[in-house]
Amino acid sequence: MNTNVDTIRNLAERDYKWGFVTDIEDERVPQGLNEEIIRVISAKKREPEFMLDWRLKAYRHWESLEKAQAEPKWANIKYGPIDYQAIVYYSAPKQKPGLKSLDELDPEILRTYEKLGIPLAEQKMLAGVAVDAVFDSVSVATTFKEKLAELGVIFCSFSEAVQKHPELVKKYLGSVVPHTDNFFAALNAAVFTDGSFVYVPKGVRCPLELSTYFRINAAETGQFERTLIVADEGAYVSYLEGCTAPIRDENQLHAAVVELVALDNAQIKYSTVQNWYPGDKQGRGGIYNFVTKRGKCQGMNSKISWTQVETGSAITWKYPSCILQGDNSAGEFYSVALTNNYQQADTGTKMIHLGKNTTSTIVSKGISAGHGQNTYRGMVKILKGAAGARNYTQCDSLLIGDKCGAHTFPYIEVKNSTAHMEHEASTSKIGEDQLFYLQQRGLKMEDAVSMIVNGFCKQVFRELPMEFAVEAQKLLGVSLEGSVG
C-alpha cells in the first residue's frame, strides 16, 4: 500500500547519496548573473554547443527584460524587489558548521516532519544536519531503470539527457515554453542546472509512476530546474513531483519550468505535491515559487492532466496550462492551493483551445487561513478554429478565520460561436456548526478543520495516485495547524 510513498522516499534518499553532488562539491560560481556565469555553468555541465547558445539567447532576452523592469507585476501578490545579482546560480553549498544532530533542532520542526512521515535520513537532510552532501538542484534518481529501459522509456536527469539524448532535447526543449515566454522562464532557460527528462516511445504505456523529489537545500541559492516530458504517439505516463525545502530566514527563489508534449493519442498525467518552506508565522522567509508549467497536446486525441496540491512557499505564482492543439485533445487542471499565516498564492491555469472538439476541465479549490491570500487566476481561450470546444470550470474558495482573503480572476476569450463554456464558483467559510458537530463526536478542533478541508478538496485528491493522496491529506492537516482557535 505504501509502495509509491516508499518509492518517493527511496528516490529522495538515493538522491542524497549520489549523483552530481560530488561533481560540484568544491565548485561554486560567484553571486550574480552575467554571460560569463552562463558559460561557466554550461562548461561545468559539459554541454554541447546548442545548449550554450540556447542559454545565452535566453540570458540576453532576460537581461533586456530586467533592464525594462519587465518582471511580471500583474499578479495579486506582494513582495520586495528581488536582487538577482545576489543569487548564486550554480553552487556547491557552503559547508556551514550546522547542527550536529537532530537533537539540536527545534522540536516543533521535528514534530512536523514526523507527522509528514518523512524518514529520518530525509529529516536530517531537510534540517541541514550531518550532511556529507547537500544539493541545491536535485538530479533525478530512477529506480527500476532497467525495467523502463526494456520498454524504451527514458527517465533520467536533464543533464544526462543532454549528454545521451541531445537530439530529443534539441527537438523539444523550449517547444512549449520558449525562453521568450516570460521573465522567469527566460531566467530559468539561462541558468537551469538540472531537472528531469522523460521520453515514452510510441505505444508504450509506462507501467510505473515516475517520481521526482525536489529540494532546495543550500542557503542563498536559487533553484532553477527544468523538466521535459515527451509522450510519443499512443504513449501514457504518470509523473509525480514532490517538493520540500528546509527552513531559512531569508527568501529563496525557485523558478522552474516544466514542459510536456503529448503526440497523437498520448496521455500525460502530472501530479505535484508542493511543500516548499512557507515562511514562519510572521511571514519571514520562505520560498518564492515562480514556476512556468505548460503542456502541449500536440497530437489529436491527446490528453494532459495537471493535478497540484500547493501547500508550501511564501509566494506561489504558477499556472500549469494546456495548449490544446490536436483535434479532440483534452486538458485538465485539478488544484488545491492552501495559504496560511502570511502565504500568498496566485495560481490557476490557462486552457488554450486551438483544435476542433477540444475539451478542458478546471477544478480549483483555494483554502485561505490566517492572513493568507489566495487568488485563482484562470484563462480559457477558444480560438477561431476550435469548433465544438468545451470548457468546464469550477472554482471554490474556503475561508478559515476572518483575516484571510480569496480572490478569483477568470478570463474567458471565445472566438468561435460553437464553443460551450461553463463556469461555477463558490466561496464558503468553515461553519461553527460544522466544527461543533465534529467536535461533539470526539474530534479535536484541528482534526475537525483538517477533515472539513480534506472533504472540500476531495474532488482533486481523487485525481491523485492513492498514496500521494494520503500524503496530500496529511500535508493539509499539518499546514493548517494553528489556523483555528
Partner: protein, 270 residues
C-alpha cells in the same frame, strides 16, 4: 427532585448532576437556575414550550461555546463537565443527537464515524479499530436503524432526507456508545415510520450504565421512548417533575396551565 422520583430510584448511581445552572446567550439569561440529577440507567425527558431553554440546556451540556455559564456547576461522573471542551465531553461519554445535523461535503459517513470512534478510543487509551473490525459492528448497527449501507458511501448527511439525518444521528450514537446521550428534538420532522425506527434504536440502547436526556416539545415521542422521569421547563426553570404520566398530563392540559400554576407556587426544583 420529587419524592416520587426519589422513590423510583433503585440504585442511585449519579451520572450527571446539575446544580443551580444559570446560562446566558449574548448577555440574555436563558437558564435561570436548573437543578437536575440523572442516574445511570435512567431516561429523563425535558419538555417545555418554545423558548423555555430546552435546547440551551442540551447545547450547554454538550459544551457549545456560544453559551455562557454565569453560575452553577455540572458534574459528569464526578468530573467538572463545564471545564471540558466539546471533544473532551464527547470522549468522556456525552453524546448529542442534533436537532439539525449538519451536512459536510466530501467526508464519507463511514470514514467519519470510524474516525470519531477512534478519537474517543484514543482518548480512553484503547486500541484503534481498523476497518476490518469496524465494519461488522457497523453493519449490525445499520440494521438496527434499518439503514441502507449505500447511504453510508455518501458524504456526511449530504442529500439525506430529514428522517435519514435523524436516523443517522441515532446510528452514530449506537456506534459511539456514549454514557450519556442527549436527544435534542429528535422527533421533529419525523414521519411515524421513521419515529418508530428511531425509537427502536434508542430503546435498544437503554442500559443500566447509560442515561439519556430526551428533549422534546411533544408527548408523541414519549409513547415510544418511555421516560423514567419527565421535567417541565418553563422560562429557564424546571417547574414540575414527575413520571411518564406527567407527559400525558401536559399533552392534555398544555404548557399554559402548568406555567400558570408554577407561577403561584415556588418552583419544585429550586
Amino acid at each position: 427532585m420529587t419524592e416520587l422520583a426519589m422513590q423510583k430510584r433503585k440504585e442511585p448511581m449519579s451520572l450527571l448532576e446539575i446544580r443551580n445552572l444559570h446560562v446566558a446567550v449574548g448577555g440574555h439569561e436563558i437558564l435561570k437556575g436548573i437543578d437536575l440529577q440523572v442516574n445511570a440507567g435512567e431516561v429523563h425527558s425535558i419538555m417545555g414550550p418554545n423558548g423555555s431553554g430546552k435546547s440551551t440546556l442540551a447545547q450547554v451540556l454538550s459544551r457549545r461555546e456560544a453559551y455562557q455559564v454565569t453560575a452553577g456547576a455540572v458534574s459528569f461522573h464526578g468530573k467538572d463537565l463545564l471545564a471540558m471542551k466539546p471533544e473532551e465531553a464527547a470522549c468522556e461519554g456525552v453524546f448529542m443527537a442534533f436537532q439539525y445535523p449538519v451536512e459536510i461535503p466530501g467526508i464519507g459517513n463511514t470514514y467519519f464515524l470510524r474516525s470519531a470512534l477512534n478519537a474517543i478510543r484514543k482518548y480512553r487509551g484503547e486500541e484503534q479499530m481498523d476497518a476490518i473490525d469496524f465494519l461488522p459492528m457497523f453493519r449490525e448497527k445499520l440494521q438496527l436503524l434499518e439503514m441502507d449501507e449505500k447511504l453510508m458511501n455518501r458524504s456526511l448527511n449530504e442529500g439525506f432526507s430529514g428522517g435519514e439525518k435523524k436516523r443517522n444521528e441515532i446510528l452514530q450514537m449506537a456506534v459511539l456508545e456514549p454514557k450519556f446521550a442527549i436527544l435534542d428534538e429528535t422527533d421533529s420532522g419525523l414521519d411515524i415510520d421513521a419515529l418508530r425506527i428511531v425509537a427502536k434504536g434508542v430503546n435498544a440502547m437503554r442500559r443500566p450504565d447509560r442515561a439519556m436526556l430526551v428533549v422534546t416539545h411533544y408527548q408523541r415521542l414519549l409513547n415510544y421512548i418511555v421516560p423514567d422521569f419527565v421535567h417541565v421547563l418553563v422560562d429557564g426553570r424546571i417547574v414540575r417533575s414527575g413520571g411518564a404520566e406527567l407527559a400525558l398530563e401536559l399533552e392534555e392540559r398544555g404548557y399554559g396551565r402548568i406555567e400558570g400554576e408554577a407561577r403561584q407556587t415556588a418552583p419544585v426544583s429550586a
